[in-house]
Amino acid sequence: MWMIDLPPFVPFFIGALMLLFTRGMLRSAIMLAVPILSALHLWMMPEGVHLQFAFFDYQLIPYRVDKLSLMFGYVFHIAALIGIIYSLHLRDTLQQVAAMLYAGSALGAVFAGDLLTLFIFWELLAFTSVFLILARRTQRAYDAAMRYLIIQVLSGVILLAGALFYAAENNSLAFGYIGLDSIAGWLIFIAFGIKCAFPFAHNWLTDAYPEATVTGTVFLSAFTTKIAVYALARAYPGAEILVYIGAAMTCFPIFFAVIENDLRRVLAYSLINQVGFMVVGIGIGTALAINGAVAHAFNDVIFKGLLFMSMGAVLHMTGRINGSDLGGLYKTMPKTTILCIVGAASISAFPLFSGFVSKSMVMTAALEEGFDWVWLMLLFASAGVFHHAGIKIPYFAFFAHDSGIRATDPPNNMLLAMAIAAALCIAIGIYPQALYSLLPYDTGYNPYDATHVLAQTQLLFFSALAFVWLNLKGMYPPELRSTVLDFDWFYRRAIPSALQNAFSVIWRVDRAIRDAVKLRLTTYLGYFAGKNDRLSILLSRDYPTGSMAMWVAVVLAVYLLLSFIA
């Protein structure tokens, strides 16, 4: 029966179409029904290729299900449902349709079994998600959205070029292990890397996510980077370069996160930090490490979504998101505060919260495979992520100095979405076996041994102690209204102004050359005219105009005469 084999993006796309023609309660019902029905359908799907057809000489596989893609498929359904509940209060067709299409594109990309299908959904992800940024309807958001779109589309174009090279080399478009030993491999790697926010290609994320709408950021944080992680896990497991790229990704954003004022931008930096852990896991490439990377992606979608939702709730209720403007909100937003702290504990990998059971797999794998220095970097990043996401976010938003804002808790649908996410964070933390049973490999890993729990708790408590000590000493950098320059300064400031200067020089030189040539021509003309004046009388400039008229009359008269004779 063909209905059975419907790829999961189809219900989402149909749902998006239906949203256009409905409103009110019916629209809400459709939005909720789509992810739930699609998830139930996916739950019953056996592994295997469910849809394929020939396209010229190539086999296209729009729907392939295996353990790796299923894992991401499940979490994307959860994320879509949570995001939709979170945005139920909205009356904005643009955002609702865009979010539905975006979630559908993400599912399309996850279940794509060939590079061409992957490319199509890769670009659809960019074109659908950009509306979640544009929907903020401010000039800043518009500018950020355009930069976001350019970089995302660039990634897609590189992917297409890589796919064409790949097809030429291997005579196949199948999306499986690719490896880094060909041009195609490197091109596709770079395309994935841009979407994965590799260092120096990471600024689209920190630039655009904080400019998106309150609800848009929740969707954005779930899909795009995780698709890239999934694609890397499929095509480049065990590529050692990923270990070092990932380690860099875990470390550098935490410095920016500490001094950034916009709390959603702090979360964007910490998103890169968390993706770094996954990239390291993929680079190590052992069963445990891949499991860790995938499990961490699963958990990250939920706890990062929860943190973005709690900060979104703050922005929604107070209209402010800068740490310097907030503080003391625990007094009137107690539920949001508690839910935010659950998210913060999860991302910091406290025992009994979800981050702990997945991050520890990557760390253990790094030690087992002898990446000692990388392990030290990951440990530093773990302490750092607690510092900026675990403490800074809740502290500056809900505690710290009293800002005098007395906003209430957000609407019930927002609270419900956050509560679901928080419940999942705790449930996975307490009972990780449920998550582990879905993972691609069976490693029999147990995170809850005394050594590990103690080590992690010590690390976190003493990171917190450092925060307390620095705060009491007055050495902690205060939240300041500011822009912190990052690598995007090069393409937002340096290159444009360099180009402007260069062009101003080019125009000046151009004008000087033209003027010189013009002058030369005039001189030559004058010279020849002068010579002519001296040589000839008839064609000279000094000869009166009337004489020419007379000569023309003479010529015409001769013509007339000749015509009479002939």
Binding site: V258, K331, L459, M475, L485
Partner: protein, 113 residues
């Protein structure tokens, strides 16, 4: 609208209490190092109190480096907001452009003729 209610952390005593509990936890965690036999995976983490020291020192270094980065990288809040490049970076870049303009009025802008 002035809020006269007293909340949990408005009382400095409560903060003190919380901090004391927190310090106690830290001490207990270090003592647990002696009680629980850790099966370590690496020579580093078999050092005494490796994780507490690493966490503490790591975070202090993190914050100090970040504070230093602020000196280098921090700009005003509307740094990127201004649409024209010239008006934002008045210090170095613009002065040069201006002085050039003064010398050679012609051709300093994009427009050709």
């Amino acid at each position: 609208m002035k809020d006269e209610r007293k909340y949990l952390f408005d009382d400095p005593k409560n903060i003190k209490r919380l901090l004391n509990i927190f310090y106690l936890c830290c001490v207990v965690l270090v003592i647990l190092d002696f009680v629980i036999h850790r099966h370590t995976m690496h020579e580093w983490d078999s050092l005494w109190a490796f994780y507490p020291i690493y966490g503490f020192v790591g975070c202090v270094v993190l914050v100090l480096v970040a504070t230093w980065m602020r000196k280098l990288l921090m700009r005003s809040e509307d740094y990127y907001d201004s649409r024209s490049i010239e008006s934002v970076s008045p210090d170095s870049l613009n002065k040069k452009a201006l002085s050039k303009n003064a010398i050679n009025e012609k051709g300093a802008c994009h427009v050709d003729d």
